[in-house]
Structure formats: structure tokens, C-alpha cells
């Protein structure tokens, strides 16, 4: 089995490769920002109304603690009424699941092929016995 002789990478190529991976990181950091900027503006239409501790369903002990933290009922109402929405988009869920599973599947396949090469070069062909 002839061993693979790797190419020697010139300095400029090394620099290019380091920068490439950096650019890739920044791009993937900014993508969700562009996707989300379309949807974010819709929710900012909450009507301002006056609140009391009772209407917020806050008990007396809770009210004490809120006040110790320096919050009055208006400021607290903003936090209390800010709720999460857990509706699931089944299509997106399926796409996401497929992407993750596909990624691992692809990676394990390719890794396995590369790994066989590594082992063959390190230990010799599988027909030959190795001493350890």
C-alpha cells in the first residue's frame, strides 16, 4: 500500500484558509439576524394600560419582593405580561430534524471512509499482521 504524500501548503494559502473559516463564522452569526428582522416588528403593538398588583394576580409576598427589587406595578406588569409562544411549525421542525440527522449521517459516512485510509496507512493492509 503506497502512503499518501500530502501537499505542503504555502504561507499565503495558510492565511487564506484561516480567514475563510472566520468569514464563515461571521456570516452564520448574521444570517438569523436578517431572518428575524422581518418578524420582530409585528409584536410591538401592545396597548399601554394601567395595572394594579391585584389585576396582575400577584400575592402580597410576591408584591413585597417586587418592591424590594425596586419595581412598581407598572414596571412589573411589563415583565409579567411578556410571555413565550410555544406554537410549533411542523414543517420547520421536520426540516430542522432532517438537517441535523443528515449532517451527522454524512459526517459519519465520510469519516469512516477517511478513517479506513488512516488505519491502512498506520497499521498496514488488513491482511498483514501487526505487532504491538
Amino acid at each position: 500500500m503506497s502512503n499518501y504524500i500530502p501537499k505542503i501548503q504555502p504561507k499565503r494559502g495558510q492565511l487564506f484558509d484561516s480567514l475563510f473559516i472566520l468569514v464563515l463564522v461571521y456570516v452564520s452569526l448574521y444570517i438569523p439576524l436578517f431572518l428575524e428582522s422581518d418578524t420582530a416588528s409585528v409584536e410591538e403593538t401592545a396597548i399601554v394600560q394601567s395595572h394594579s398588583w391585584e389585576s396582575l394576580g400577584v400575592s402580597t409576598v410576591e408584591q413585597e419582593q417586587w418592591q424590594k427589587l425596586g419595581y412598581d406595578e407598572q414596571a412589573a406588569a411589563e415583565i409579567i405580561n411578556d410571555k413565550f409562544d410555544y406554537t410549533i411549525d411542523p414543517l420547520m421542525l421536520i426540516i430542522t430534524a432532517l438537517v441535523i440527522i443528515g449532517y451527522f449521517f454524512f459526517m459519519l459516512r465520510v469519516s469512516k471512509a477517511q478513517y479506513r485510509e488512516v488505519i491502512a496507512e498506520k497499521f498496514g493492509d488488513s491482511s498483514r499482521e501487526t505487532k504491538q
Partner: protein
């Protein structure tokens, strides 16, 4: 070692210094994580309520116990600076190793940026409290990164000894706070019976909370990165890692107990510094100071450990030519991967200055999560390819393959939790790793010497 007799056998070689002991390993692991107790974990309260956060704390604690056990076993046989990266290279294959290396570098560098931002914001907060509004956090962010990088550059022993001291202080701060809440008389300070509510979003909220439950422990697996610098790695790493996860389980439970007994869950869910707020409610000024310093130290310790780990992962990839070889250099005097440390400084600073903290943190958590998914696959293959009697292990974890399968199952649930709040980020981060993988196969792998990647003195794996 028969096949890889290199030409440079007789020439001089430099290597990293073996100077660390189990306490350093503990400091590296717990140091990276503990900041998560001072801030961040409480977002799980917003997602699933106080009880949801407790369930998340323990379920994710189980996930990390599996991580710690699996990691300890593999690392006790693979003593190399790359940690999980080197494991992947020996057990699964080059492409997986490349991805794991990237997970490590991304997770740690981004966490480091977030930590430095915390230090900067705390400085602004102090300035505001003393009557100077609008202090820019930027110089303090840069100072934190610059100082810690300098420390890392000058040698691993001093770096992790400092980490031990400040991590211990931060941990003691949590204990002090717990004592300060008068835990023997529930109802006097802690008001759990009045503040704990039903699950506000039901069980789906509990699942969603799992994502931020990772904050309690994220980074404990970093202990492996020290493997090349620890004396008797086979014993020190398992000891430090498992000691670390026990410390964190205690710290996480105490943190939850203190915070939910003092603050309404809606407030807690959006607090920036929950433990410090807890100290302010109690109204004890010296506790407040201790908790402030604790928060600061925890953030610094975390950034410090992250620099250490990210640089070692990047260095290892350079050494194997997965990344440019230039990064595979070791400082002849300080014995640190000095070029990797330098290269990652501007990157960490730029992450801190993007203003995308949310995004950066999600990227960091997900990279960690991808790494844990890898670990479960890795463990199953490791036992299959080298059964217990074939190679000596410094530590053997019990109940195999249950921890690996539990880990895989929990990872899937956390992916789903991430999907619930950050679906777009999840897809874009996956896109990053997919493009990077293709790039590795098409371009980088041509520079890699095949047989040299396998460096452990293990026999031929079964089935190959």
C-alpha cells in the same frame, strides 16, 4: 509504534510542560462553568417557571454526569491537548475530528467573549452606582481578554493556579449567600411556599427550559484539554472532572434554591445577575460585595479557562494540518501554543463587539451540544473497537452503554428545546458546520498526512 518512524526521530523536540495536578483540572472545568450560576441559568425560569428550571437543572445535570463519565474514560487513555478532538480522530475519523475541533474552538471563544462582556458591564454598573452614568464597557472588555491572553501565553501553571483561587472564591460566595438566607428557618428570608407557582407553560415549557439549563454546567468537558499538561493524566483528569461535576451539581441546586426563594419567577426569568440581586434583597451590604466580586471572578475564571481550551483545540488542529501548520507551534520557553493564543484574541474581541450576544451565546451552546452528541456515538464505538481488555484505561465508567444512550436521548430533547426558541439560529449554525465540513473534505484534507493522525500506542481497532 511501528509504521510511523519519522525522519526527525533524533532531532530535538519541544512539548508542553507536564505541571498540572487534579486541582488545576477541577479549576479549569468548574472555572469555565461557574459563571453560569451567577447569570444565564435563570433564563430557564422564564421559559418554564421555577419548577421547570429545577427539573431542567437536574435533567441536564444527568446529561452532564454522562458527559463527565464518558469523557473521563476516553481521556484517561487519550492524553493529548486536543481533548475530544483527538478522541474523534482516533475513534471516528478525520471529518468528525475536524468538526469536533471547530465545536471546541467556537464554543470556547464565544463563551470567552460573553464573559469579557460581563466584566465590562459590571464595571459600567459600578460606575453608574458611584454616580458616573454611561461608562463604556469596551476598554474593560479588551483589558480582560488582553490580560488573560497574556497570562495564558506565559504558561499554563500560573494561569490555572489563578483560576483555582478565583473559582474557589466564587464557589464560596454561593455558599456564603446560602448561609446568609438563613436556610434553617424557611419562611424568614426564603419564601418558597409563597413564591413557587405551578408550571406556567405546562410541560412544553419544561422542555424549552432545558436549553438554558445547560448554563449550569456548560464547559465542564473542557477538562480534557489539559490532558497533555497534567501529571498522570489517566488519574488526574477523571478525578478533576468528576469532582467538578459534583461541585456544580451542588452549586446549581443551591443557586436555584436561593433564587426561587427570594424572587418572583417572572423577575428571575429576566434578571441579569440573579445571585447578586438575591444578595441585595437580603439587604446585607457585605454579602452584596462578596457576591459582586464572586460574579466578577466567575466571569474572569471562565474567560481564562476558555482561552486555555480554545487555544489548545486550535493548536491541535494546526499540529495535524487540519488548520494551517503555523498554529501548531509551541513557545520554546513558556511551552504554550502561543500562536493559537494570539490568533484567537482579535476574534474573541470582535465577537464581544458585534452586539449579537444572544446569537453568540446560542452558537456557543449549540456547538457544545453538537459535541455531546458526538461523545455518545464516540463512546459506543470506542468500547466496540477496543473492548475493555484490549487497552488499559485509567478509569472505566459504569453501566455502559446506558450513559451513552441517555446522553444521545437528552441531546435530541435539547435540540428540540433550542428549536422552540431559536429555530433560525439552529439552522444557520448547522449550515455553518455543513459548509465547513465540505470545505474540509474538498480543500483542507489534501494537506493532512493520513497515517500520522493516529498517534496513540493502541493496537489495530476491531473491524478495520
Amino acid at each position: 509504534m511501528t509504521a510511523t518512524s519519522t525522519t526527525a526521530e533524533n532531532t530535538q523536540r519541544i512539548s508542553m510542560l507536564k505541571v498540572l495536578n487534579p486541582f488545576h483540572v477541577w479549576a479549569l472545568g468548574v472555572g469555565i462553568v461557574l459563571v453560569g450560576e451567577f447569570m444565564g441559568w435563570n433564563f430557564s425560569v422564564a421559559k418554564g417557571g421555577a419548577y421547570g428550571a429545577l427539573i431542567a437543572c437536574w435533567v441536564i445535570g444527568l446529561l452532564y454526569s454522562c458527559v463527565a463519565m464518558i469523557d473521563s474514560e476516553v481521556t484517561s487513555t487519550v492524553a493529548a491537548a486536543g481533548g475530544q478532538y483527538t478522541q474523534a480522530k482516533h475513534i471516528i475519523g478525520p471529518l468528525m475530528a475536524f468538526n469536533v475541533g471547530l465545536y471546541l474552538v467556537m464554543a470556547y471563544t464565544m463563551l470567552e467573549a460573553a464573559d469579557a462582556l460581563i466584566v465590562g458591564d459590571l464595571m459600567s454598573a459600578v460606575a453608574a452606582a458611584t454616580g458616573y452614568e454611561g461608562l463604556s464597557p469596551q476598554p474593560f472588555v479588551v483589558l480582560t481578554i488582553a490580560f488573560l491572553a497574556w497570562l495564558n501565553y506565559r504558561g499554563v501553571f500560573m494561569t490555572l493556579t489563578l483560576n483555582f483561587v478565583i473559582t474557589l472564591f466564587a464557589f464560596m460566595a454561593i455558599i456564603a449567600l446560602f448561609v446568609g438566607t438563613d436556610p434553617l428557618n424557611p419562611g424568614s428570608v426564603l419564601k418558597h411556599s409563597d413564591l413557587l407557582t405551578e408550571l406556567p407553560y405546562g410541560w412544553i415549557g419544561v422542555v424549552a427550559a432545558l436549553q438554558f439549563g445547560m448554563w449550569y454546567y456548560l464547559g465542564i468537558e473542557g477538562t480534557c484539554q489539559a490532558a497533555e499538561e497534567v501529571r498522570s493524566a489517566g488519574r488526574a483528569i477523571p478525578l478533576g472532572t468528576i469532582g467538578g461535576i459534583l461541585t456544580l451539581l451542588v452549586a446549581a441546586t443551591l443557586t436555584w434554591y436561593i433564587s426561587t426563594g427570594l424572587m418572583p419567577w417572572q423577575y428571575l426569568g429576566q434578571a441579569t445577575t440573579p445571585l447578586y440581586d438575591a444578595a441585595s434583597i437580603i439587604g446585607n451590604p457585605s454579602l452584596q460585595v462578596v457576591l459582586f466580586i464572586g460574579t466578577m471572578f466567575a466571569a474572569i475564571a471562565s474567560a481564562n479557562g476558555c482561552i486555555n481550551d480554545a487555544a489548545r483545540a486550535w493548536f491541535s488542529m494546526g499540529r495535524d494540518r487540519y488548520m494551517p501548520t503555523w498554529f501548531g507551534a509551541i513557545h520554546p520557553h513558556y511551552r504554550t501554543p502561543f500562536r493559537s493564543i494570539i490568533f484567537l484574541i482579535p476574534i474573541a474581541v470582535s465577537f464581544a463587539f458585534t452586539g449579537l450576544l444572544d446569537q453568540v451565546i446560542t452558537f456557543s451552546i449549540l456547538s457544545g451540544l453538537l459535541g455531546y452528541t458526538f461523545m455518545s456515538i464516540n463512546m459506543i464505538k470506542f468500547r466496540k473497537m477496543w473492548p475493555l481488555d484490549v487497552i488499559k484505561r485509567g478509569y472505566i465508567h459504569p453501566f455502559h452503554p446506558i450513559p451513552a444512550l441517555v446522553l444521545l436521548g437528552l441531546c435530541s430533547v435539547v435540540y428540540f428545546a433550542t428549536f422552540l426558541g431559536y429555530g433560525a439560529s439552529l439552522l444557520s449554525i448547522m449550515a455553518f458546520y455543513i459548509v465547513a465540513s465540505v470545505w474540509f473534505v474538498m480543500r483542507r484534507y489534501q494537506f493532512v498526512k493520513r497515517g500520522d493522525q493516529f498517534t496513540m500506542p493502541w493496537p489495530r481497532p476491531k473491524g478495520y
